[in-house]
Symmetry: C2
Subunit: 219 residues, 2 copies
Amino acid sequence: MRVPAARTAARGRIDKRQAILEAAFTVFARRGYAQACVQDIADEAGVAKPTVYNHLGDKENLFRHAMEAAADAVMRENLAVVERLRTTGDDLRAALEDVAYRMLKVCCGERSRALRSLTYSQVATFPELIETVQGRTSIGLGEAVADRLARLSLSGRLRQCDPGQAAEQFLALLTGPMEARSRLGTREVSAAETRAVANAAVDTFLRAYAAEAADPGLP
Amino acid sequence: MRVPAARTAARGRIDKRQAILEAAFTVFARRGYAQACVQDIADEAGVAKPTVYNHLGDKENLFRHAMEAAADAVMRENLAVVERLRTTGDDLRAALEDVAYRMLKVCCGERSRALRSLTYSQVATFPELIETVQGRTSIGLGEAVADRLARLSLSGRLRQCDPGQAAEQFLALLTGPMEARSRLGTREVSAAETRAVANAAVDTFLRAYAAEAADPGLP
DNA sequence: ACTAGATTGAACCCGTCAGTTCAACTCTGC
DNA sequence: GCAGAGTTGAACTGACGGGTTCAATCTAGT
């Protein structure tokens, strides 16, 4: 006899589908696609196995939709952080450091890591994952950052440059070192170390992209 | 009846074990751990299934050893490239661009990508993979690059800096954008674009780390 | 209360695959 | 040729899990 995970407020058919999608992502993240079995997902969602099949058909479909939903959630978080670059105060460095740190917190969060890991591992089996996931995360995030950097460049606070490339490198300077330090997410990275990574990335970024000399442009 | 892959020079027991390890990595890379079955690996190696079990015990062991061997191979390739930084000519930028480009070619190669993908996807099931693989690739590579950068810094061609951090960021500037452009390796990136990524990385790196002003130090 | 549709648990079918067994075969060294 | 170790194919076991079926149960809306 299986023991349901959260049977409390489950009986009403309110949003079974949503619960199933979240549970599915949780279990896939925990076990990997092939090792995750539908019964586990049903249990995690506090739902019977046939109900899962009723709502989402087979395992592949379930996986696709779960990944899609998770990607959307991660993207929302990331965009909220990038929005903070819209209102930069006087101190550009401080603003970038703030955004960098928050972005690292998101990108190393549970969902974000699991999403990357699952995408990486199942890209051979589900080729459309790249579009679905990358399109909703990396690519969109890159564009959002590029937009902000373009404005900063135009207002003379960064030097003339290709904003797309600048954004690409900014993100690389952030996530690359972080992945290495966290050992692909298997190791806790202290807040202090995270902040150090963010600051180092911003420092290098500004050395390479800050406007030359004392900016003579604006009044 | 199964069709063996390369039965030509297989009969002698010369290096069955080696053949099995290589075949295993090939099949794991192609199908992923869970989806790869031992029979496929045996076929790929041109060997019978019991022989696989004779040499390497169970599937988990097989996987561990195959990953270990592949990591060693990738590491050898990478170190060979980094060694080129020992003899920098007059043109530091050109030397870095050369190394950067070669490194990208290695890191986006078949083995290297498969290694990353498999590590990522199985890290939950085989926690020691991080040590085995990262220890033999990323970490060692980072240290090797840091060694070279330290020398360059000492000889006044780069500014004073923490070589470990510089290496970390140099590698991030290289691999980050490349992973994004290649869509996790599912898309061919032209040699020209690869070179552009390498040059952009070196450009940003030098802006941030080159010795200040026209170096007055050396004769 | 009544009905229709959703939900449930349990059992079931069926394919896949890890791992084993075994008798036959092949090669090597002597 | 012979002995013995290694190899082979083929068949087998047992576990696991995807997907389905079904009768019993629950819930909502009327």
